[in-house]
């Protein structure tokens, strides 16, 4: 039984309770009074990036729409501008709740796989934890080739002049593609992260187990 179905089984229809217990800051969701100030304040909403604005997500949680919420790309679109937190009359930490739900959906494996924010977050984390330093060349190339080889070449060609400019200004070193420089104690960083993973995994497993 996967982590996802195990939780669904436990909560049956009470998705709100699941969010309260599993999601960081999730216990705030019940306090929303549906005024819609968050939705109106969200800068991403101007580009219709949100399938469901925060207020609507909260209502969906209360209505038990588990699948729709957790597979939604909405909370991934949050730019952490904090407008909603500043303006919420009920003082809900909306930005944090959005990140909490996104993280939970990711943990359950329900988050949309190729959602750019989620993809980039994963890429960035892998990139920086590998050597202990961010390798900018590899990071941007990873992002270019997100949607396949052909699209990657196209993206690269489009950014050609910028890249050449950076090389000329000695802001970009092509040799970084081969290994690249590391932090002093790469092994130490890995060991530290391993321990951190261990602690977090233990905590979350305990939470799911209730």
């Amino acid at each position: 039984m996967s982590a996802n179905t195990a939780v669904a089984e436990k909560y049956r229809n009470n998705f709100l309770k699941e969010i309260e217990e599993q999601v960081e800051m999730g216990d705030w969701v019940k306090m929303c009074m549906q005024c819609g100030v968050c939705s109106g304040s969200c800068p991403t909403n101007f580009q219709s990036a949100w399938e469901h604005p925060p207020q609507e997500l909260f209502m969906m949680i209360r209505a038990g729409k588990r699948e729709e919420v957790l597979t939604s790309s909405s909370m991934w679109n949050c730019t952490s501008c904090y407008n909603c937190i500043v303006r919420c009359p009920r003082k809900l930490p909306i930005t944090h709740i959005m990140h909490g739900i996104a993280e939970y959906a990711h943990r359950l494996g329900m988050a949309p796989k190729m959602q750019p924010t989620r993809f980039f977050s994963g890429l960035f984390w892998k990139n920086c934890t590998h050597t202990g330093r961010v390798n900018e060349l590899k990071l941007s190339m990873g992002l270019y080739f997100k949607d396949g080889f052909v699209q990657g070449i196209k993206n690269g060609m489009a950014m050609q002049s910028v890249a050449l400019g950076l090389v000329k200004a000695k802001r970009l070193n092509v040799m970084e593609l081969f290994g690249g420089h590391k932090c002093k104690d790469q092994k130490g960083v890995h060991a530290m992260l391993k321990k951190a993973y261990e602690i977090e995994r233990g905590r979350k497993t305990a939470k799911i187990a209730g």
Partner: protein, 743 residues
């Protein structure tokens, strides 16, 4: 009337002396006003000026005083001569403050002042000092009808101020609706949990109070008389009646919940597991008496999920149910959801609302409910389908726009139906209630008044009793009878208690005024009252039908009987009377007519039109005064006469004015209709109905219909009124001068 001596006093203060030729005004008073004693004074309202007037009254035999100074609304304490007839010519707010201080304007400004002096002198001669209503009563006992929270609070508050109270309750116990509640919405910090109703405490206070005489299982068989001298027959269960002498009445007959059986689509009456808010309170009380678990009525199983349906049969746009919001039910449902959550947090409680309205400190209470895990869903319930021991609630989720949303396996559904006023008979409906009527009319009278206009107090809409909702909320259209609590408008306990206290004080004020023969609001303290010359009366009944306060009954010969203590002194009877036999000592067809005739009308070649403005003293006249204070200028061709109410305008005034050569007449009264602002409730409406027929008069005089203009004026129209005056003056120039000038 024989020995009247009129004196005119012209003030030179506040710039009057500089802007006006006051010596000329004194001469006008003597010559045109035919006043034997006319004086001017540097500063009339100071101690010296007032002493001068007092001295003349004491030593010169002055009986009638005309003061040409500021508005009659200013300096009322200084110019207070209760033994004398007093008229005021408004030279300050009405003349110099609304005219520009220029050499060109000086002539017309002076003319305006001179006319006001002529008008003041003419008016004061047509007046006598009011002597007060002789037909007074001395009863200081307060009758409270209804023994609920409102009634008990009224009784306790009145008793605390030292007035004896008779409290009549229809049922066998005090407490009313609140006694059926398990708990109430909190009214103290921190507004987080339901609180004790406090009814037991109120009941014990009433029972312990020797000043409160209590009738249980009793109704009012008959109410006769007027404030200060009501005679009330209380019918008790045994069939015996007790007669009580009463000074004033507070009707606190409360409300009935809207019948949920009229809501079958919401499951009302179809399942024992669909209850209204009263039903849930009963379940909660039963639970509290047992193990604390609220049980499903159908089989006694503990309730695990409950849905509250807000606005059930309320805010209805189809015309079938209540069109209004009762205002208390959102807080009540929140409270009831807490009954479940406080006992067992695992019970699912959902409140389906369209707009959550939580007045008072309800916002904190609402937040507390959210913290306790009550789910709030914005939606409109379409249907409740009972199925065995559970129900399905189908609703339109308004946030997610999901038309097929549903709550399934719901153990208990609570319908938040609204409050329907127990206001007795709607006296304005024909005796047979038509079936199309949406609001249930209780056919049983509450007060059984012997008044000519009907057995109960008049209603405004939806069965709630009529009052002046902005200025005098506890008043009804029956003087000395006050309504408080949900019979007046939907409300909760906290509001009802506030209402009760207010009504108790107003009722005390009314019976004290009644004893002194003085009017209640809005002419509080007025000692004048309508006098009728019965030998001229044609028994047309217009006054008895039109009186907005039901003050006038009819005797066996169908002559009007004026119950002066019930009268508010609006003068609607005076305006209605076709033979003009009704008048007040200081306000009559003659006192206004004399002013109209006193104005000097220049001939048609002078290009100085004259416009008569009859301005309601409650809103329009203060607005005009304030326009003066703000120095908002208006035409020098208007002559303004304050009137008590548009309802008091007798059409003879308009005919007289037009015959005398006025170019136009403006009537300024308060807004009428359902959203009325008239201080006499129906006065402006009745006045307008009368004025709508003025076209016939104009036709017989061969005059244009533009010559009479009816305006709705509110007290805030400080800038608008001068604009309207100037616009009308310009329009009249186009119409041309009146053909009646110079006759």
């Amino acid at each position: 009337m024989a020995d009247i001596k009129v004196a005119a006093y012209i003030c030179k203060g506040c710039g009057l002396g500089e802007r006006l030729d006051t010596d000329a005004l004194v001469k006008i008073a003597q010559k045109d006003g035919k006043v034997p004693l006319a004086k001017s004074h540097e500063f009339l309202c100071n101690a010296d000026g007032v002493a001068m007037i007092r001295n003349d009254i004491a030593n010169e035999g002055v009986t009638h005083v005309m003061i040409g100074a500021c508005s009659r609304r200013a300096k009322t304490e200084a110019f207070f001569f209760p033994e004398n007839a007093v008229a005021r010519a408004n030279l300050r707010e009405g003349v110099i403050w609304i005219r520009p201080d220029t050499d060109e304007a000086r002539e017309t400004t002076q003319e305006m002042a001179e006319d006001y002096i002529r008008m003041g002198c003419a008016e004061v001669k047509a007046m006598t000092a009011p002597g007060g209503n002789p037909n007074t009563g001395t009863s200081k006992t307060l009758l409270v009808v209804g023994g609920g929270v409102t009634g008990m609070t009224t009784a306790i508050e009145a008793s605390k101020t030292g007035y004896p109270v008779v409290l009549v309750e229809k049922t066998g116990a005090l407490g009313g609706w609140a006694a059926k509640l398990y708990k109430r919405v909190p009214v103290h910090e921190p507004y987080k949990s339901p609180a004790d109703t406090g009814v037991a405490d109120l009941v014990s206070q009433v029972l312990a109070d020797s000043n409160i005489k209590l009738y249980l299982n009793a109704t009012i068989a008959k109410t006769d008389g007027a404030p200060g001298r009501f005679v009330v027959e209380v019918a008790t269960e045994s069939g015996a009646t007790h007669t009580e002498d009463i000074g004033a009445i507070v009707q606190a007959s409360g409300f009935t919940l809207y019948d949920m059986n009229k809501l079958p689509e919401l499951g009302g009456g179809k399942s024992a597991n669909v209850v209204d808010q009263a039903g849930l309170e009963a379940l909660a009380i039963a639970a509290a008496a047992g193990d604390g678990v609220i049980r499903r009525p159908s089989d006694g199983a503990p309730v695990k999920s409950v849905v509250f349906v807000q606005c059930a049969g309320q805010r209805d746009t189809s015309g079938q149910h209540l069109s209004y919001c009762s205002g208390f039910c959102c807080n009540a449902s929140i409270k009831q959801a807490m009954y479940f959550k406080d006992a067992n947090p695992s019970v699912d409680t959902t409140i389906i609302y369209t707009d959550l309205r939580t007045p008072g400190n309800g916002e904190d209470f609402y937040r507390s409910a959210q913290e306790k895990g009550v789910i709030f869903t914005k939606g409109k319930v379409a249907e409740v389908v009972p199925n065995g021991n559970t129900s399905t609630v189908k609703f339109h989720d308004l946030i997610l726009d999901d038309k097929d949303a549903a709550e399934v396996d719901v153990d208990l559904v609570v319908l938040a139906t609204g409050q329907v006023a127990n206001s007795g008979i709607n006296i304005e409906l024909p005796p047979v209630v038509t079936e199309a009527d949406t609001v249930e009319i209780k056919p049983i009278s509450i007060l059984n008044l012997t008044y000519r206009q009907g057995k109960d107090v008049p209603q405004l809409k939806q069965g709630f009793t009529d009052s002046h909702f902005i200025c005098f909320p506890y008043e009804t259209r029956r003087t000395g009878i006050y309504t408080a609590g949900p019979v007046r408008r939907p409300m909760d306990i906290a509001q009802a208690r506030e209402d009760a206290t207010g009504a108790a004080l107003k009722a005390i004020q009314a019976l004290e005024n009644a004893e002194l023969g003085r009017a209640a609001h809005p002419r509080s303290g007025d000692l004048s009252f309508p006098k009728v010359r019965l030998e001229g009366c044609t028994q047309c009944k217009r006054c008895t039908v039109e009186c907005p306060f039901g003050a006038i009954d009819e005797d066996e010969k169908r002559f009007p009987v004026f119950n002066e203590s019930r009268c508010r002194r609006c003068g609607t009877c005076m305006g209605a009377c076709p033979v003009r036999v009704i008048s007040f000592e200081n306000y009559s067809v003659n006192s206004v007519g004399a002013q109209i005739k006193a104005v000097d009308i220049p001939d048609e070649f002078s290009e100085k039109p004259r416009i008569l403005i009859l301005a309601c003293e409650n809103d329009a006249y203060p607005a005009l005064d304030m326009a003066g204070m703000s120095r908002n200028e208006y035409s020098a061709f208007v002559r303004i006469i304050p009137i008590r109410c548009l309802g008091s305008v007798n059409t003879i005034w308009i005919t007289d004015a037009l015959n005398a050569g006025y170019d136009g007449v403006m009537l300024m009264g308060c807004k009428s209709g359902d959203e009325y602002q008239c201080h006499f409730v129906k006065g402006s409406e009745l006045g307008r109905v009368r004025m709508s027929k003025i076209d016939d008069t104009l036709k017989t005089l061969n005059l244009e219909s533009e010559r009479v203009r009816d305006l709705e004026v509110a007290i805030t129209d400080i800038e608008r009124v001068p604009e309207m005056i100037n616009k009308y003056a310009a329009e009249l120039v186009a119409v041309g001068p009146s053909p009646f000038k110079g006759f």
